[in-house]
């Protein structure tokens, strides 16, 4: 098994792990963390593809690698915005719950649930 294939398979599993965390964790911060695990898995998969593209005396295809650097920075800015939104939610409501069926914290739900 070559390096690209090994890390490609590893990346597939990382994406699955992150997706499981994103779907099952009730805490929004854990969802952001899980999203970052998914993101790093996708980056690693792309990195494996870049390694397969080694040619013309270069050890890997530089175009996907440059896009990866851009991707990592953009993923960080998205995480920073998500964390700021979460901290603001905590400041305003005193809680970090994402559930919308709790009448105590959401008084005006009539618009969201017309059949109620």
């Amino acid at each position: 098994m070559n390096t690209a294939m090994l890390f490609g398979l590893c990346a597939s599993m990382l994406i699955g792990l992150g997706l499981y965390g994103l779907l099952t964790h009730p805490h929004p911060l854990r969802k952001i963390l899980a999203l970052n695990v998914i993101g790093s898995g996708i980056f690693l998969l792309f990195g494996a593809v870049a390694l397969r593209g080694a040619a013309a005396g270069m050890n890997a295809d530089p175009v996907p690698q440059a896009l990866l650097i851009t991707g990592i920075v953009v993923a960080f800015s998205a995480s920073a915005l998500a964390v700021a939104l979460l901290l603001r939610l905590f400041e305003v409501t005193g809680d970090v719950s994402l559930a919308n069926d709790d009448p105590a914290t959401h008084k005006d739900t009539s618009k969201d649930r017309p059949h109620d």
């Binding site: 390096t3 294939m5 090994l6 890390f7 398979l9 590893c10 599993m13 990382l14 994406i15 699955g16 792990l17 997706l19 499981y20 965390g21 779907l23 099952t24 964790h25 009730p26 929004p28 911060l29 963390l33 899980a34 970052n36 695990v37 898995g41 980056f43 690693l44 998969l45 990195g47 494996a48 593809v49 870049a50 080694a54 040619a55 013309a56 005396g57 270069m58 050890n59 295809d61 530089p62 175009v63 690698q65 440059a66 990866l68 650097i69 990592i72 920075v73 953009v74 960080f76 800015s77 995480s79 964390v83 700021a84 939104l85 979460l86 901290l87 603001r88 905590f90 809680d95 719950s97």
Partner: protein, 315 residues
């Protein structure tokens, strides 16, 4: 089994173990620390994938800054962590989620095993044209010449994210300083560390920035290191976080993107296309853009971590 394969296999297993810890462990703080370790392991994986530039970015931003950001939030939200965990989904939902995640993994694994051979590659095209850009590092050539538009839009995304975070401030503290934790203990270890580490970090950051033209490194990795040194100064109480209403701050923040757009406009006038470089002046243009981007990126990355304004103007 060759030593190289054994190393890769061990690294892959460690990555999966650390990611599993970060996703599944109960305590959020333990999860975030696991995620930071995972980021460092990922850096090694990038080195194995012959992506030293990506490895540097991952170490600085993916593991370092993201981990710092999440750790700060985890500490702030510790009081409601227990309550948030009470809403955990039932067993049926968990099984369905595991099935969904498992099928995605299987599909991706199938795609990895059936990737086309020989692999498509843009490396020959880069090798053919890199001489025109006058830089030696192919990744820098892609980032600032062949795909410069991506890099410009990325800088704009960073500015937009920063504006988004600032706009989350309460009306009363708009224009004030971010409520970043400040230590006033002048004899503390953090104070001492900041005095010793910051000069070294600034030199290393500048070096990583400068060698990016010909070797792994560049403005993003350098800017992240400089931003980390700035955060250390603020954390240690040696400098206060800036007022977000400061005109000087805002000018430095938009300087990089503005110079980038200006150079792009010059290209459409002189070289016939937006972000095109006139023959023989490519390196000069690239260095000008990188020099202008460095302070802007440093400030933006630091400000993204510091978060929304929390203190009124004058405090």
């Amino acid at each position: 089994m060759t030593p190289s394969l054994a190393l890769n296999l061990a690294l892959a297993l460690l990555l999966l173990g650390m990611a599993g810890w970060a996703v599944l462990v109960r305590s959020t703080q333990a999860a975030v620390i696991g995620f930071m370790v995972y980021g460092l392991l990922l850096t090694l994986a990038w080195a194995r994938l012959d992506g030293l530039d990506v490895a540097l970015t991952e170490a600085a931003i993916g593991g370092g800054l993201t981990g710092f950001l999440l750790l700060g939030a985890a500490v702030r939200l510790r009081s409601v962590e227990h309550r948030a965990m009470l809403q955990a989904p039932g067993l049926a939902t968990r099984i369905l989620a595991a099935l969904a995640a498992g099928s995605i993994t299987l599909l991706l694994a199938f795609a990895v095993l059936t990737l086309p051979s020989p692999a498509p590659s843009l490396a020959p095209a880069v090798a053919e044209n890199i001489a025109m850009t006058q830089v030696g590092n192919p990744i820098t050539a892609v980032l600032l010449a062949f795909r410069a538009l991506d890099t410009l839009l990325e800088a704009l995304v960073l500015v937009l994210a920063m504006i988004g975070i600032w706009s989350l401030a309460d009306d009363r503290v708009w224009g004030g300083r971010p409520g970043f934790a400040i230590a006033h203990d002048a004899s503390g270890i953090l104070h001492y560390a900041a005095r010793i580490l910051v000069p070294i970090g600034v030199v290393i950051g500048g070096y990583i920035f400068w060698i990016g033209a010909d070797d792994p490194g560049g403005k993003f990795q350098g800017a992240t290191l400089l931003a980390a040194m700035w955060l250390l100064l603020v954390l240690a109480g040696l400098r206060d976080a800036p007022r977000v209403s400061s005109q000087t701050l805002r000018l430095w923040v938009v300087l990089g993107p503005l110079v980038f757009i200006g150079v792009g406009g010059l290209g459409s006038w002189v070289a016939g296309s937006f972000l095109g470089y006139p023959q023989g002046y490519a390196k000069l243009m690239i260095v000008a853009v990188e020099l202008a981007l460095l302070p802007s990126l440093t400030l933006i990355l630091g400000l993204l971590i510091m978060g929304a304004p929390k203190r009124e103007i004058g405090r």
